[in-house]
């Protein structure tokens, strides 16, 4: 049964036919209800006894569920890989198990190609998957480079190999794709003022600053990246993915929507009702990823977004610090503080953002 579904999804990834999305999604749902005990109990808890008739009705697990249970739609003994979230929020890490990498590999490469992202050499600000064995991002890098060891510029200790990067960029003629987490770019910007990339190059950043106390606005980041690497904003891309997913959304430049390949759909959910939000309303992002056969197809993220037509959304993200909390202290903040570095603040008091926040 699972081999047949896997093949069907692989076919879809290679030759997407939008009309097939729903029937494949419903088949995956039925399979996961049967094979994934934690998901099955959750669906029963929600009172979802009848089969879903639309992909939008498929119950979505909260993203946090990956930290709470093993959401595995196959026997544990058949696990070939496990990806883990960073665990920077202090609540432990989420785990995403896979029975095979076929879907993941097809989705990563397929999504890249769907958006016509260049196949020229990648320079990856991340460690190799052999070093970071639980990192889905490193695995993605391996897939996109055919596992070329010299494409990775972060060593096992987390140190950026800046000199090697500078040498390759300045000595090679062709365009590159510089790809890495936003935090790695911030670190890179601290040690290099300018590193012009050859014409035709692009830059791909992903992820945020969760748990690092190293916040920087996206516009500010793009501006600094643009200056340092001599790229216009449209050559700077963002990959929106997560350990719990097998597929990725992409956007380029500032203020543009994140778009999905055909095997990835989303729905904006009104948090007040937990059902689909009205057009143009801000809500929580719910994602349906056909390549997530081995865990759960539908995931409710913690991110706020607003739909931009059927195929894209503007990501607003989430910022727990922005929540007005009065003077009641968040317990999780205490947990986070114990594992994160102390915030560095400087400058005059009157100019500081440290004063006058919500509380």
């Amino acid at each position: 049964m699972n081999a047949a579904i896997e093949l069907r999804i692989l076919d879809f990834l290679q030759q997407p036919d939008e009309r097939e999305f729903e029937s494949i999604a419903l088949a995956i749902y039925a399979y996961q209800r049967e094979q994934n005990p934690a998901y099955s109990r959750y669906c029963e808890f929600l009172g979802q006894s009848e089969p879903a008739v639309s992909w939008k009705e498929i119950p979505a697990v909260p993203q946090q569920a990956f930290k709470r249970a093993e959401l595995r739609s196959f026997p544990a003994s058949e696990t070939v890989i496990e990806f883990r979230t960073s665990g920077t929020t202090g609540e432990g890490f989420g785990r995403h198990f896979m029975r095979s990498l076929r879907l993941y590999e097809a989705s990563v490469q397929g999504g890249w190609d769907y958006f016509r992202l260049p196949r020229h050499p990648l320079l990856l600000l991340m460690p190799h998957a052999a070093v970071a064995r639980y990192s889905s991002l490193s695995r993605m890098g391996s897939i996109l480079t055919n596992d070329r060891n010299d494409a990775f510029f972060l060593d096992g200790n987390g140190a950026l190999q800046v000199d090697r990067l500078r040498k390759i960029v300045s000595e090679s003629g062709g365009p590159f794709t510089l790809f890495g987490p936003a935090l790695a770019f911030v670190n890179l910007l601290e040690v290099i003022a300018e590193l012009p990339l050859p014409p035709g190059s692009i830059l791909m950043e992903t992820g945020g600053f969760k748990g690092t106390n190293r916040e920087i606005g996206k516009a500010d980041l793009y501006s600094r990246l643009s200056e340092c690497f001599h790229l216009d904003f449209d050559s700077i891309w963002n990959e929106y993915g997560m350990t719990e997913l097998s597929s990725q959304f992409y956007s380029n430049g500032l203020g543009s929507a994140h778009l999905a390949p055909p095997w990835l759909r989303f729905m904006i959910v009104d948090p007040k009702t937990n059902s689909e939000a009205a057009t143009g309303e801000v809500g929580l992002l719910r994602i349906f990823d056909l390549a997530n056969l081995w865990s759960v197809l539908a995931i409710q993220t913690q991110d706020l977004a607003v739909a931009q037509g059927r195929s894209g959304f503007l990501l607003l993200g989430r910022d727990p610090e922005a929540l007005p909390r009065g003077c009641s202290r968040p317990i999780d903040e205490l947990i986070r503080r114990s594992i994160s570095t102390k915030r560095e603040t400087s400058g005059s008091i009157a100019n500081s953002n440290a004063v006058g926040g919500p509380c």
């Binding site: 934690a38 808890f45 709470r68 929580l284 009065g326 003077c327 009641s328 603040t345 009157a350 006058g356």
Partner: protein, 359 residues
């Protein structure tokens, strides 16, 4: 303005606010007497042991007010006025309507200078700075003020309740009311209750009472997208946990996001988005190690019953205030805010020996 007139002016303004009903002239006089005796009297130094003493205000006082509850600002200003200081207030950017109203009810000569941005000259001129805010804000001031200036800090706090032995309808009603005041945003608001006897039953009764209070034609709570998103995330995560983890139960408002009660059998501290979200946990054998991470941030412990057993436990846990459940957001006027005297902190004691007073 004489002390008696200042007392009357504050009591008069406070009469317009039901939640300031403890701030009567009589209570204020008692408060001054408890902390400073007669040392604030204008008719000269008072006998103090074998010599004389007078209390002179630290002036000007800069009050840095943040947050969304007006309590903190009014309390702080009241203290500054009572000691006879000139007061300057840095308000939150979004303003604080009740605070403004309180100020308008004061005689013009007692009104503080106020600004929503922080002025460097105010910081430099202040003899005392009272800061309400996050650890980051407090740390920031601690680094930037001169050692000659007195810094009084009121950081963010966590409060909770302890229910030992049998509980009844009054306990439940009190527990619900404590959650409702300021929608839990005050630092004295409970984030969780530890219950000794039948914690599930206590949680059920809380939920039933919330349901009564929010049923009928009352309009659903209107939260911002950020708040609603965070409340929805919490609901969905705990519903997943209720479906997959034993003894975990969730009760939620039938529609909307009015309230949420969660029974969690584990004693550990958990993240709470507030806005009428309350956790109920069984009281563990030894609560002290569980609460050790928040010991320095523990403010009020509401207890039932108020007896030697509950009080001793609360003190051991690090409580700065112990009160009956149902009174958590109603500290007496003479309380030691965050464990410190509130007026004596804002004066300079002048000791005079060998005085022959001519006044």
């Amino acid at each position: 303005m004489q002390l008696a007139d200042r007392v009357e002016a504050i009591a008069s303004a406070a009469r317009e606010f039901t939640w300031l009903d403890d701030l009567t002239a009589q209570n204020i006089e008692r408060w001054i007497a408890l902390e400073l005796g007669t040392l604030l009297n204008a008719d000269g130094p008072q006998i103090y042991g074998d010599h004389h003493c007078t209390a002179q205000p630290l002036s000007p006082i800069l009050h840095v007010i943040s947050g969304n509850t007006p309590h903190a600002g009014i309390q702080s200003l009241t203290r500054g006025i009572l000691v006879g200081a000139k007061n300057r207030v840095k308000l939150p950017r979004q303003g604080l309507a009740e605070f403004d109203l309180f100020v308008q009810l004061l005689p013009a000569e007692l009104r503080p200078e106020a600004s929503s941005s922080l002025r460097q000259d105010w910081v430099e001129e202040a003899e005392a700075i009272i800061v309400f805010g996050s650890d980051e804000t407090v740390e920031f001031f601690a680094r930037h003020i001169s050692p000659r200036q007195r810094l009084v800090v009121h950081g963010h706090k966590i409060s909770l309740g302890l229910v030992l032995g049998p509980h009844d309808e009054n306990t439940v009603e009190g527990a619900v009311q404590d959650v409702l005041v300021f929608d839990q945003l005050g630092c004295l608001s409970p984030q969780l209750y530890y219950v000794e006897n039948d914690s599930v039953e206590f949680a059920k009764r809380l939920a039933a009472r919330f349901n009564e209070l929010f049923s009928g034609e009352k309009a659903a709570s209107e939260w911002t997208s950020e708040i609603a998103g965070s409340l929805r995330n919490c609901r969905e995560e705990w519903k997943f946990r209720a479906a997959t983890e034993p003894e975990t139960h969730v009760w939620e408002s039938p529609s909307g996001l009015d309230w949420l009660v969660i029974h969690d059998p584990r004693p550990d501290l958990v993240s709470n988005p507030l806005y009428r979200t309350i956790f109920v946990k069984p009281l563990p054998q030894n609560l002290e190690p569980v609460l050790a991470p928040i010991r320095n941030h523990l403010s009020t412990v509401g207890v039932h019953p108020v007896d030697s057993r509950t009080t001793e436990l609360a003190i051991r846990l690090g409580a700065q205030r112990v009160c009956p459940i149902g009174k958590m957001q109603k500290p007496p006027a003479v309380w030691h805010h965050d464990g410190c005297p509130t007026l004596a902190n804002l004066v300079r004691f002048v000791d005079i020996e060998g005085l022959i007073w001519n006044g």
